[in-house]
Symmetry: none
Subunit: 218 residues, 4 copies
DNA sequence: TATGAATGAGATTTCATTCAT
DNA sequence: TATGAATGAAATCTCATTCAT
């Protein structure tokens, strides 16, 4: 009897804990969508609460404050991106397609309306303490991509040039999607993701013709 | 006496008007830098006033409010961009270099610390009335670029594909620069502009090899 | 069966009741310490709950709310003080030592970290209904001391003067102890109690020399 | 002309500055009264604003926040008290009357409804940074009184004993006045101040009779 | 008896903006 | 042209309290 009681209470605790965590994740998803659509500063706690179907005060049951909500949004986003990165880095084969796959997942992550996201932008909104962790993860992601690009250059697949700047321009092409994509537009998120990834990877590819032609006139 | 007084006051008015206009432009430059660095919502009127060396209250002698300041910032930015666009469209020769030149000017416009800018983002912060004008100019700019891209495709210089999405990805690569550029970094603004433009134009160029290679694995 | 059940439940109820009462007292002790150390308004229900090792919500099984907790704290404190007062009044002998004993117990009551206390301050925090009872008890205590002082004056032991004001100054010297006493300081609570009582009673004693000397210069 | 213009603007600036400072002092006076009557935590910014005849938001034109208002209240109070202390310490003559004069001024400072005060209590409400300065001033005051007491003991005027504890009991008798004094009561502030000072100084005076008599029975 | 979740009321504070001078 | 003073509205956040379990 005692054992069964213990077991029950343990199960209860676990169930509660899991429900609590699930609720937190649901809130983070909702918040991420709000942040993406309105920006961190323009998004009010009331909006987030509405999106998550809670009272504003109740948000503070789950998170210490708005900053922390943003922090966890970004943390989750970056974890997903770093997961995709890990896969791209461990896959074999030419770098181009691997970068393409990564780019697709990156964009889908931004546009996903269930998971919400794009919250890895606006790092500056975080207080210094929280910012450090996020910047570390973000830099890990960026360095990982740069490493892939470097690998492609070594193999002769990708163009020589400043890998850091190229990586950032690559990410810019991807990230910008969150700014302009409209669900009611002509393309589905996967279609957009593929098109943008096509563009972004092409920008890295080895230039076939004389690079002179690419130079600006002015 | 009366005539001379009139003349003087007319001259005075003109001088005042011109000074007023100069002051307005100076304020807009300062404001554009603040908006770029901090974002519209995070930027306070006090910050703008400090950057422009005025008291916050005095800003209201020059502008109706924060919205209007953003409006004029964006208006000025877009005018400069549309100027660059016009030049790119009327220039003869292959499309690639013309787009490259435009891209360079676009990035320089974002990074310019005298003129300030990047304020053409955050259109959503404007109240509907002001927003319409800005969106019109922004769309004009985007359509112009898309037209150039279309011309390049027709000539066989640029890759087939969705020109609208490609244009936005192109702009994303450029615009993102404002997020990551740091003056104390390794490259000067013109150097960054050239590197980013290289990438951005390459992404549009006709794909030489089998498009399959660009496809994602997943 | 029914009888046995009744009997058991009666016994159970009694035990529960007693446990309940014990628990209530424990909570009041903890709350009294928190109120003394932080003040009524600064003390949160969470703090009280932590000090009593309960969840905040569970406090409401024992008390109607924060006000009621303060009420019972003050009630208990004043009962103890009135108990000490009764003893001092019924004791025979000169008034000085009897007041001294009372003062010692008063201070010990404030500093006692088991019983907690000092909660008889902050009467204003109570809602009117509860306030009346507490004020009545507090006034009973004060009047009792004033009566003792009056007795001392009649006997020639204590100084003439405004007995009400003197009583309050006397109580001030005692009560203030709760503000400055630190357990890690040089004196134990009983030592402090004796020293403070020495001072407080001396202030009431008949002035031997010319009262002029006590007068202010200014 | 130019000089006179300069002079005028300088005078203007000075006038403005002085008005600003005056307004600050008025606000502090009002706030001190509110703090004394309601306690720091119970007093809302709205109450303070009402007492000072401003909108709550406008308080932030003069002070950084509630904490800072309390800080300046306490600072002003302690400056006044330290002023009185300095006078008491530099005056010649027996210590008793000098302490009496200081005590009178101390109590008057608490009860003064123009200057407001009693705000030197509740030091714990301050954030650490501000608290340090106030504690330093408060300790200076306390040490000054203790030195006076020590001088009295040396001269044989005052009773031997723990000077620190005696000083605190002395201050307790004075400070408590702020708790119980009611303007509609039988005594005027100066009358109360004299009565309380009489008591407080008497508590320090050399005990004429056998100290045994002062001992508690229990 | 016990507690996680939930909430309305209200606290402090910020901010864009206006106004008197 | 310039600004200190003033304010309403709203934002974030806290807190005592309730409720379902």
């Amino acid at each position: 009897m005692v054992r069964s009681s213990n077991a029950r209470s343990a199960a209860g605790a676990s169930r509660v804990r899991r429900r609590n965590d699930l609720r937190r994740v649901e809130i983070l998803r909702a918040a991420a969508r709000v942040f993406r659509d309105r920006g961190f500063n323009a998004a009010g706690m009331r909006e987030i609460a509405d999106a998550a179907d809670l009272s504003p005060a109740n948000l503070y049951h789950y998170f210490r404050g708005k900053d922390e909500i943003l922090y966890f949004c970004q943390d989750r986003s970056l974890d997903r991106l770093n997961g995709a990165l890990a896969e791209a880095r461990t896959t074999r084969g030419p770098v181009g397609p691997r970068l393409h796959g990564l780019a697709v997942r990156h964009v889908l992550c931004l546009l996903d309306d269930v998971e919400g996201s794009a919250a890895h932008l606006e790092v500056d909104a975080l207080p210094p303490r929280l910012r450090r962790t996020i910047i570390a993860k973000r830099d890990r992601y960026e360095r990982g991509i740069r490493a892939l690009v470097g690998e492609g250059v070594k193999r002769g697949e990708l163009a020589h040039g400043d890998a850091t700047v190229a990586t950032r321009a690559f990410l810019g092409a991807l990230n910008w999607t969150a700014h302009w994509f409209r669900p009611e537009g002509p393309h589905s998120p996967p279609a957009v993701a593929r098109l943008v990834a096509d563009y972004a990877v092409a920008g890295l590819a080895a230039r076939p013709r004389s690079p002179r032609a690419q130079r600006s006139l002015s």
